[in-house]
């Protein structure tokens, strides 16, 4: 985690553009990485990183230096990604259908065919974005539920509920396609 000085944070809060540039360069990589985990598309993640920092810049007066920059930035990034997923929900589904082969993870289970993996990925992308983000971060990316809750601005119990609902909907969708996990 970058260790920015409280001076930079205070100057950013006051609207100092140089402090903003310093924070941008310190955090662009981590913000990009976080967004990429959610949207899973490098080009969209780059655009959303810029969108996130634009929101950060506009909200500088609401920033509380005592609470740190990274968590605040991550929360704004998560909401920017959520807005994007809501706006282009159908696009991701079409991309998957047109994209064909889904790369197998290094430790792929040979019992799980490429077709099942593709159908699972498609079904997952059909989930409501709010549930999909919680499940992506908590299940696929294996992030601590506390971090997911902080990024979404909800309680840990709400994260567990969203993951449960996501898995239940996913299971129903797969069963409709004749796949029993």
């Amino acid at each position: 985690m970058p260790n920015e000085s409280s001076d930079v944070l205070n100057r950013f809060r006051q609207g100092d553009a140089f402090a903003f540039e310093t924070l941008f360069h310190q955090h662009q990589r981590s913000v990009y990485g976080w967004i990429l985990r959610i949207v899973r598309d490098p080009s969209s993640a780059e655009d959303l990183t810029v969108e996130t920092f634009w929101r950060i810049y506009r909200a500088h007066a609401r920033f509380e230096p005592a609470r740190g920059f990274e968590g605040w930035a991550r929360r704004i990034a998560t909401h920017a990604a959520l807005d994007s997923l809501r706006a282009s929900g159908d696009k991701f589904e079409l991309d998957t259908e047109a994209g064909g082969e889904i790369p197998a993870p290094p430790e792929a289970d040979p019992a799980v065919s490429a077709e099942i993996r593709a159908k699972t990925a498609q079904a997952f992308r059909r989930l409501p974005p709010k549930l999909r983000i919680a499940a992506t971060l908590a299940v696929i990316e294996d992030r601590p539920q506390k971090d997911v809750a902080a990024a979404l601005g909800i309680s840990v119990a709400a994260v567990k509920l969203r993951v449960f609902r996501a898995l239940r909907l996913l299971r129903k969708d797969l069963e409709r396609q004749g796949i029993t996990p």
Binding site: P42, F124, V139, E141
Partner: protein, 84 residues
């Protein structure tokens, strides 16, 4: 759905959608794009400027509401003048 089902589903999901690499980073420096975004935002007027004075949509809606109020309730004119 019991805990075993959930675990099976989680495993299937992890097979279908592999984790993003931990050291993922943007292919280019995003600062130039950030500057373009900031420039575009600062060039945008906060309100539309017409005939040399600022006129926001909210001002228009307020003026229209006043016109409607006065048209239907002329007795409200002295009250409005009092508060102006």
């Amino acid at each position: 759905m019991n805990e075993h089902d959930q675990d099976q589903l989680k495993k299937l999901l992890q097979q279908a959608l592999p984790q993003v690499e931990a050291d993922a980073e943007p292919a280019r420096d995003l600062w130039p794009a950030m500057l373009r975004r900031l420039d575009a935002d600062s060039a945008k007027p906060a309100v539309s400027v017409r005939n040399g004075f600022n006129w926001a949509w909210f001002d228009g809606a307020l003026a229209a509401s006043l016109v409607v109020l006065v048209a239907f309730f002329p007795a409200a004119i002295p009250l409005l003048l009092y508060y102006l």
